[in-house]
Subunit: 288 residues, 2 copies
DNA sequence: GATTATGTTGCAGATCTTGCAACGACCATT
DNA sequence: AATGGTCGTTGCAAGATCTGCAACATAATC
């Protein structure tokens, strides 16, 4: 919508790949050097990009700080963390928490495995959406039309022989997942890694996040991992309970649910609302 | 420099505080609603902001992903990590890695304490610059004029009775740190937490990062923690050695150091270059 | 059902952005 | 030391892009 901003933002993913100098940026943006310079200057002033001693640009500290601050404000994360830690303490494996947002699923929390052989992942990373157990859960929970739309839009990379091959297979899998209320990924992303996942549900019963336990074959077999399923589901349910439990504001609000009325489908429905009222300024509107 | 981009970027810190609706954004930006809307739309298209079901905006997934990707590309981090892990394995305490960038110091890596009582921190968080041991090291290493300039610019919040009170005290402390080549924070930020830190030096001998070991009083006393100093310094030196060791590109380059010539001080000198050539696209220019 | 509160769109004026071209700094080569 | 090349920086004029307005749309509230 805004050309200038559009261009400026296009610089970001470019720099995420690694430092670049003015000309490289200008070339890839397909604009004149001077234009690129001014955009970069503005980004620099905001601390979003940093200029190295060798004059090349890379993403800056404030970007990290922003992402950090935003992440810390996610309510599910806060509530879930102790439960995840507890589960990890019990089984020792890597525990993840993930949310869905506009065709992407990303980890927002993680408790590291206590085994020496671990799965690679990082908070903030997007997960392979067509195969990850948490992703399947979150997409499976979308209303039918959007679920289908998402499935069609996606790519289906063949990470392994067991990766989901195409949209049809994915939708099938989603139906199963939806039915059973939990999901697995048995070597769909990394041949030797398995996961079991369960959804965390908010006030209206919609999945606001999903959690999973992952472990490589060399530590436990897929069958052994599956024996953890009840425990994983119990943990997820406990988090859900606590999540819906907390009222929006300490002094209860008039009509906290506005999603309960059936809505016409003119706009495709967006979901996942992992953010709720702990933030002080939130109450401003209700005050005077 | 660019008004539109400037405004758009100003939205980010605002949303980092918590979700906000269109009007709130417009008000705080001091622009018309329609203007704010268009900016938000553009940010949305890039996935930088996300629109919740209740129409409010918050920071989006792509922002996390960007920060994540950029962080993973930091070379020092990559090299340092195994060393940090090793140190943690030996002593059990929290180990941090931090870099300096334009008046801010932030953690770029961390290995969690294995003790139940832990220090709170998070990768990507900025550290209290006037008291943290790693911050002192990094600032102490700046060339004199800039060091002074930074010291003057800073605020000196009194976290505890032992916090650095003002610029003068800070500069004094920096002189000591510079002299001895290591630093501590003994209850300067949190009454009960102590840290020891050592610098990681790059090719030109400048500090490109700093690492620290932190532990609460209840686990080990400050004196006990100080006995770890030699070990911390050895680890930092090992990282430094490996960091300068790796040449810029596998096939060695002509003149890898361009900082070695004394430079006139017309522009205040920027430092810290924790980013070096592992990235494939980097070599593009050298190719044809 | 009227009323408020919020978000959205089309439009015309003007600001702000753009690309150009020339300049300057720096490096490398002869 | 001189010359040529690369890359970043600046002033300017043309005009594309952005802005604020006002009216409209929609949903919540009384």
């Amino acid at each position: 919508m805004s050309q200038t901003v559009d261009r400026a933002l296009s610089i970001l993913p470019l720099l995420a790949e690694g430092p670049a100098n003015l000309e490289q940026v200008a070339t890839r943006l397909e604009v004149h050097k001077s234009t690129a310079l001014r955009l970069l200057r503005t980004l620099h002033e905001h601390g979003i990009v940093y200029r190295q001693p060798d004059q090349r640009y890379r993403l800056g500290a404030r970007l990290f700080a922003l992402a950090q601050e935003a992440m810390e404000n996610l309510d599910v994360r806060e509530i879930a963390h102790p439960h995840l830690a507890e589960l990890n303490a019990a089984c020792g494996h890597t525990v993840h928490l993930a949310v869905y947002e506009e065709d992407e699923v990303l980890y927002i929390d993680k408790v590291e495995s206590r085994y020496p052989v671990r799965m690679y992942s990082r908070i903030g990373k997007t997960v392979p959406i067509t195969v990850a157990a948490v992703a399947k859960l979150l997409i499976a929970d979308l209303p039918e039309p959007e679920r289908r739309a998402v499935a069609e839009r996606l790519d289906y990379p063949r990470y392994t022989a067991r990766s989901t091959p195409d949209a049809a297979a994915f939708l099938n899998e989603l139906a199963t997942v939806r039915e059973q209320g939990w999901a697995t990924d048995l070597g769909g992303h990394e041949e030797s890694i398995n996961c079991v996942a369960a959804p965390i549900r908010g006030a209206e019963g919609r999945a606001v996040a999903a959690m999973s336990v992952s472990a490589p074959n060399v530590v436990v077999s897929a069958d052994e991992l599956l024996t953890l399923l009840p425990r994983v589901r119990r943990t997820a349910d406990a988090i859900s309970a606590e999540y819906v439990g907390r009222p929006l504001t300490p002094q209860r609000d008039s009509t906290p649910r506005r999603d309960s009325t059936p809505r016409r489908d003119s706009t495709p429905r967006r979901d996942t609302n992992p953010q709720r009222g702990t933030n002080p300024q939130r109450d401003k509107r209700a005050a005077p």
